[in-house]
Symmetry: C2
Subunit: 253 residues, 2 copies
DNA sequence: ACCTGAACACCGTTCAAGT
DNA sequence: ACCTGAACACCGTTCAAGT
């Protein structure tokens, strides 16, 4: 009998920063309703909506704290399979998928969080780890850092875009969906022969943006692989030159 | 003396769909204030805020109309330099940059528009054109369509992300900026040697997300180039086989 | 037929008052 | 020290009333 009262409000929880953040994150998941307002948050906590202001300066500060928690969860999930430099591709793919999955569990938060920076320790060491992996694979440090940042931006941006669609009310979602289906179904073959030919695939991709993300990720990583190959070739070339010069030097000396 | 009255409201315009959309788009640009509300829109039109409801069912319908206009502008700008299949890379780069530029001129609209679909004719023919170019470069039609969709999603997602930051109030922007600078400046070298080494570059990339976009775009297109090479090689292989079989057939016949 | 203005529900936020 | 509840400014939207 931990519960008391007959209201629809959730169990009364001690109002701490952590309890508030936890409740707020819960509200952002589809099961929690997918909307974050002070009114709903107050009900979830069994307290007055404005009580939250005793622990957070404003909504922005609350969102920042929520984001930190979510990022830490994503990083923990992502770095589980931190494989060696020879398997950088699988590692990066796994990390990107983990971030996306954790974010899409709370679309309403993902939309709010994607822009904001959270300077958490665990995130920092994860970035260091990724740079190390790419560097170990053959990329100069600066270039490795660039690739890490690109992957992060790319993943967050596309995830946020998916989240934004999930947050739309059902009506708008249906409107968008219908627009695509109808449009691609009615394309005149003589004016748009190629679109007509690929309409089925394009409709499929629209319905499932996880697939688009996988394709983009794979294509992007192909580009990274190319950078690594080039870097290795360059390194091999300079080493060969150095060896030759050394040989020449010893021959002359 | 076209102007009259002493209010801060703009010139009184005949209330048509086009006039409303034009005014609304203007409000979304930084010069226009960068915020779209019915109140501000009414003032801009010199009419009662609720007068807009005589021409648009709700705000969503207005945003859809605004998005259509902006997309058409972007497409017009993007297809100016539609070069041949041999220069697909420059064409796609130009298109992506054009879309990004047009969207970032009205960050407040970009944020609202990025998810919504607008089935405009001019957009359709632009997509057909891009698929044709990639197909001409050697990609099978379906794969060309996939690449087109990937590029579009990628560009819109990253552009929307940049727009979301521009829409943040100055205070939050400064907070984010400070967070990055401080964090990367204070990283202990012994724990984060690689991050310490690339801190300057990472800070630069954070400050200038146009640069990140260019890098991602280039890396992604490297991946597309690889797909094209593979497709060409595959095609050459099957053609050779067919020729050999034809030769064998004629030798046997 | 089109525009106006009062009204409503909802949002984030403030502040004086309670315990 | 922490929570409550009335109040405020602002938002999108509705609707009866004007012309």
């Amino acid at each position: 009998m931990a519960e008391q009262g007959t209201t629809t409000a959730r169990r009364r929880v001690a109002l701490t920063r952590e309890a508030i953040v936890e409740a707020a994150i819960r509200l952002c998941s589809p099961e929690g309703g997918g909307v974050l307002t002070f009114s709903r948050l107050g009900k979830e906590l069994g307290a007055d909506p404005t009580a939250v202001y005793r622990h957070f300066r404003d909504k922005d500060e609350l969102i920042l704290a929520m984001t930190t928690v979510m990022v830490e969860e994503a990083v923990a999930l992502a770095s589980v399979d931190a494989l060696g430099p020879d398997r950088w591709r699988e590692s990066l793919t796994g990390s990107a998928r983990a971030v996306r999955a954790v974010y899409l569990e709370r679309p309403a938060l993902a939309v709010l969080a994607a822009v904001r920076t959270t300077a958490s320790d665990v995130e920092t060491s994860s970035v260091e780890q990724i740079i190390g992996m790419l560097h170990g694979a053959g990329l100069p440090v600066i270039e490795a850092a660039e690739c890490c940042r690109m992957l992060l931006d790319l993943t967050l941006a596309m995830t946020q875009s998916s989240a934004a669609f999930l947050v739309l009310d059902k009506e708008s979602q249906a409107k968008d969906d219908a627009a695509w289906s109808v449009q691609y179904g009615l394309l005149p073959e003589d004016r748009y022969p190629l679109l007509h030919q690929s309409a089925a695939r394009l409709t499929e991709l629209f319905r499932d943006d996880a697939q688009v993300f996988e394709l983009v990720l794979s294509t992007f990583l192909d580009g990274v692989a190319l950078k690594i190959e080039r870097a290795r070739a360059e390194q091999a070339r300079t080493e060969r030159t150095r060896t030759e010069q050394a040989r020449k030097g010893s021959a002359l000396g």
